[in-house]
Amino acid sequence: MRDNAVISPAPGVTQPLVKMVNIHKSYGGVTALNGVDFVVGNNEIVGLIGDNGAGKSTLIKVLTGVEKQGEGKIYWKGKEIEKHTVENSRNMGIETVFQDRALAEKQNIWRNLFMGREMTYGRTGFIKVEESKKEAINLLKKMIGFTQSGLTPNLGVMGLSGGEKQGIAIARALYFDAELIILDEPTNNLSISETNKVLNFVKWAKEQGKSCIFITHSIYHVYSVAERFVVLDRGNTVGEFLKKDISLDGLVEKLEYVAKHGVLA
């Protein structure tokens, strides 16, 4: 077992929002996470970085309840999470923009927005269709900045552009007023202006007092918004840096070293 004091939230943060301790996860023979400790403070933006296959997505899948860890504990606001499912992680206030966006492509925009958390008439389970449509279109036009004129909530998601699809995935995180927003490679394949929208969204989340986990291969993007960086390599946490202690070039250098040697210098 690792000493979990190694990973800590930024100074000034007293009680972390999320604490993951000694997380193990393997898929058949492949070990994706090998005893990872990870913490996110209140109103903290954490950059989670590392090579392809480092285990970043797996770590957040465990955190969000998509995958069950083989070993290890997860705490939310100091309390251990017992029965972890996506449903209860979303109810607690965790929203995730998954790497592959988690969209149902044949469904239309409003259904995608409310997937898994439909707006219903109380416990009857019947969906408020008209209201859902209205909310969806409002959200996309006002908050996400969808500009195309033909936009209707009944439009299928299949024909949308990559940026628009990402917009819907982000709109979900926005709508449900999450305390912790996780973005897994949200800027992949996006244009500069779309990328800036995503980065502004993270800054907005910070201003709103939310916390954020930002996963990306673009060190430049993550450096511009995160306060702390956690480096993952082959299923292990190999380092963590506060933004105030390291320059962009310094961070890039460290990452290159990790990629070569599997440990920090």
Binding site: K61, T64, G65, V66, T85, V86, E87, S89, R90, T96, F98, D100, R101, A102, L103, A104, E105, K106, Q107, R111, F114, M115, G116, R117, E118, T120, G125, F126, I127, V129, T147, Q148, S149, G150, T152, N154, G156, M158, G159, R172
Partner: protein, 340 residues
């Protein structure tokens, strides 16, 4: 306003085109034999026979939307019909027989779901096995003999299930319509229906968004069992006799109803309305062909023709429309950029 109507038409183009097929089929029937098709009698006959296949087809629709398959329902229907007849003959209590039969259907559906969801056997394969298994059980249990249900006549349940409302409308038709309305509401307006759509569309995404895909599948397969039992009860009550072959002949008809209704095997989309109309088409074709004076030898050929043609229309329609829409969209966005 006009825009809105246009949009509605585009949205429900699938439903409209299946309705179009139905209208064409009936106009052809009416031309072929106006005396028969302009009188109530033939529709009365349709209302007494079509509901069995229609109920089965309705219950199969969510299965197909999930991208799954169930081939065991005709045999489950047979076994549940046997259970109904046997319990009634033992206890003389139609209510007990009714409840037992539905419970057997539920259990049969549950067994399917366990094998598919927990054990992980593809539904197409496992339900082939179950098709033989339940039919085999019918044969073993009944000894190949039928059972009379004449004594159920006169009970309230009999009247409620297959009686003639006002002496004119077969009660089973009302049941079929009620189930169609309920299923349509659930699919389009209820959280559960939404979860069926998500799960069939992209199970991985659905899971990541907190949809309990396994639970959804389990419930969907269980309701097929219950509906198969219900259809089995209706059919045996209608003829007042349990035949060991009960359920045979419904496999292809019910599945075809789902597909000509516009629900595709790709999963993620489907329409209850389409299935209902599809069942009417499938159920009226044979009578229509024969009474139009066409030789009965043509029946299968025309069945096939209608199925293949309607599927071709849907495939063509969905391609062209999405292509056209994509084009319009890209032109619009092009102009949008130029304006700025």
């Amino acid at each position: 306003m006009l825009e809105k109507i246009k949009l509605k038409i585009i949205e429900s183009r699938l439903q409209l085109s299946i309705l179009g097929v139905l209208i064409i089929v009936f106009v052809l029937f009416a031309i072929g034999n106006p005396r028969t098709f302009l009188s109530y009698r033939i529709y009365y006959a349709f209302m007494s026979t079509i509901p069995f296949a229609a109920i089965l087809a309705l219950s199969l629709t969510p299965v197909v939307i999930l991208g799954e398959m169930d081939l065991s329902f005709p045999s489950v229907m047979g076994f549940c019909a046997w259970a109904f007849a046997a319990v009634f003959n033992q206890t003389s209590n139609i209510y007990t027989a009714f409840v037992v039969s539905l419970a057997v259907g539920l259990i049969a559906g549950f067994i399917n779901s366990v094998l598919i969801v927990r054990v992980g056997i593809p539904s197409l394969v496992v339900t082939i096995g179950m098709m033989f298994l339940w039919r085999g059980l019918v044969m073993i249990a009944s000894g190949g003999l039928g059972l009379s249900l004449v004594k159920t006549q006169g009970t309230i349940l009999y009247k409620a299930l297959v009686g003639r409302i006002g002496g004119e409308v077969p009660a089973q038709a009302v049941w079929a319509v009620a189930i169609a309305v309920l299923y349509g509401l659930i699919l389009n307006r209820h959280r559960f229906g939404a979860h069926v759509l998500y799960s069939g569309d992209d199970a991985v995404s659905a899971k990541m968004m907190g949809v309990n895909v396994e639970r959804v599948k389990t419930i969907v397969f269980m309701q097929v069992g219950v509906c198969a039992a219900f259809a089995g009860i209706l059919v045996t009550l209608e003829v007042l006799y349990f035949w060991p072959s009960t359920g045979e002949g419904y496999l292809m008809k019910s599945l075809a109803s789902v597909f000509i209704g516009g629900t595709t095997v790709f999963g993620g989309t489907g329409t209850i309305f389409g299935t209902f109309i599809g069942a009417i088409i499938m159920g009226s074709l044979e009578a229509g062909i024969v009474s139009s004076g066409i030789s009965g030898f043509w029946t299968q050929f025309i069945f096939g023709l209608v199925i293949v043609l309607s599927l071709t229309i849907y495939a063509y329609m969905s391609k062209r429309l999405s292509l056209g829409r994509g084009l319009i969209r890209s032109i619009k966005s092009l102009f949008g950029r130029v304006e700025k």
